[in-house]
């Protein structure tokens, strides 16, 4: 980790010095112990502030969209960030040449309060960045995917095993806790619409009231909009101030699409190939 931190600092300084990038996005120490926060630096002299340890829980991908306006952005990418970057390129939000990717093989991050590995890291299928300009450090080995899949979808299967009434109650509780701050949308590298359906006041899709109906509407439509493109970076669930288990919605969608239409994983390349944006004439039929 310290070796990686040093290489990020060194490369960030060099890139800023040479003018290849106007800004570097990384992490720095936060206010509390074992906490980091995203760092945006424009001067090579600030490179020393960069920190990389096992508490770098924020995924940086989405920040690039705002920052690229000022010029080419250098950004640290682990598996989750790299897939987000690919996704944004596929969605035509970003051009590959607008970013310089400092690849970081990642062993997983920890929760600062419990010290345990994050759920998104336990279930991570790509610990090495899938796209980068240079790799800082030796590649790590991924856990074999069948093993991961058992953990990845364990919660979904547990919920599916409940009765309908139990599921209804469970999700009513989940949706009831949502305060509709839209943090889950803001951090998501897939939610990139300039104008989100929740902000279209005249169309009136989303009422402003905070009640179960509106919250359910928001959460189900959010997951519908990202479902076939989610890169499972876990940012939405991490950012949620109310601790909603959003991955339980995302992963349900991901697993269904995979089972029904062999969707596979998203963000592995920057080609646009959304499962719900294509079809096969011999797709399975259940509406006859």
């Amino acid at each position: 980790m310290t070796a990686i931190q040093e290489s990020i600092q060194k490369r960030a300084a060099e890139l800023l010095e040479s003018g290849e990038v106007t800004q570097v996005i990384a992490w720095t120490n936060g206010r509390f112990t074992n906490q980091t926060s995203p760092l945006f630096i424009q001067n090579a002299a600030d490179a020393g502030k960069i920190v990389f340890n096992e508490y770098c829980v924020n995924t940086l991908a989405k920040y690039v969209l705002n920052e690229k306006i000022a010029g080419k952005v250098g950004v640290c990418v682990r598996g989750c960030e790299a897939r987000g970057i690919n996704r944004m390129i596929a969605d035509n939000q970003l051009k590959r040449e607008e970013v310089y990717l400092l690849g970081i093989p990642c062993e997983g991050m920890k929760d600062r309060e419990t010290g345990e590995a994050l759920d998104k890291c336990l279930t991570c299928t790509h610990k090495n960045p899938v796209v980068y300009d240079e790799l800082l450090g030796a590649e790590v080995t991924d856990t074999v995917s069948e093993e991961i899949d058992k953990v990845r979808f364990a919660q979904i299967e547990a919920i599916e095993g409940m009765s309908r009434e139990e599921r209804l109650e469970y999700f009513n509780n989940v949706f009831n806790s949502c305060i509709r701050c839209y943090a889950c949308r803001e951090v998501c590298p897939v939610c990139t619409c300039r104008e989100c359906f929740v902000d279209q006041l005249r169309a009136g899709w989303q009422g402003k009231q905070n009640n179960l109906n509106e919250n359910r509407f928001y959460n189900l439509i959010r997951v519908f909009h990202i479902g076939d493109r989610c890169v499972e970076c876990g940012e939405c669930a991490r950012a949620c101030p109310m601790g909603l288990p959003l991955m339980e919605l995302n992963r349900k969608w991901i697993r269904d699409l995979d089972e029904l239409f062999a969707a596979g994983e998203e963000g592995l390349s920057d080609e646009l190939d959304n499962t719900l944006g294509r079809y096969k004439t011999d797709d399975i039929e259940e509406f006859m």
Binding site: R202, G204, R216, T275, E286
Partner: protein, 173 residues
């Protein structure tokens, strides 16, 4: 709006049996003609269904389905052309993928599967339209009224519509 008031009236008397409201999205090029043909042939089907004509089943945004349920409909039926017969070539193929996944998600979060159904019904299948509508109405009647938010429903006498006031028609918002 009158749709909501009907049930409120029915609910308040308390004596009448529950009559579900079903919203059927019908594709202009197939099911809508099928429904028309059913009428021409003097077929009878429950009056609980409100047919809403859409240009294509692919036009049915899942947001419509949730909105309908939130605004007091007890069940939603989406009908389109058989795969391969879409007037716009591929609209129903997209609809199929999307609605298959969306339907699973609704069930996962606790909706009864009967409350949201999808069927392919061509312009000549008047009988299939009648049978489908009848069976959906019967299934939903069995289930009882859809109460999206139990707390709200009790509070405002099942008029969940009040949770999202509709802008006055033609009015500036």
């Amino acid at each position: 709006m009158s749709v909501v008031n009907d049930t409120q009236a029915a609910a308040s008397t308390g004596t009448e049996t529950f009559e579900p409201k079903i919203l059927a999205f019908a594709c202009h090029w197939c099911t809508y003609s099928g429904a028309d043909l059913a009428g021409l042939n003097r077929m009878s089907y429950p009056a609980n269904v409100r047919v809403l004509r859409v240009p294509c089943s692919g036009r049915v945004n899942p947001q419509y389905i949730l909105t309908a349920l939130n605004k007091g409909v007890d069940g939603v039926l989406v009908c389109g052309c058989h795969p391969g017969d879409c007037h716009y070539v591929s609209g129903n193929y997209y609809a199929k993928r999307r609605l298959m996944a969306f339907r699973r998600m609704l069930q996962y979060t606790g909706l009864e599967p009967e409350r949201f159904q999808v069927r392919w019904i061509s312009g000549s299948e008047a009988g299939k339209f009648r049978d489908t509508v009848t069976s959906v109405v019967e299934q939903v009647r069995e289930l009882g009224p859809y109460k999206p938010d139990p707390a709200l429903a009790a509070l405002i006498d099942s008029s969940v519509d009040a949770s999202n006031p509709v802008l006055p028609e033609g009015g500036e918002a």
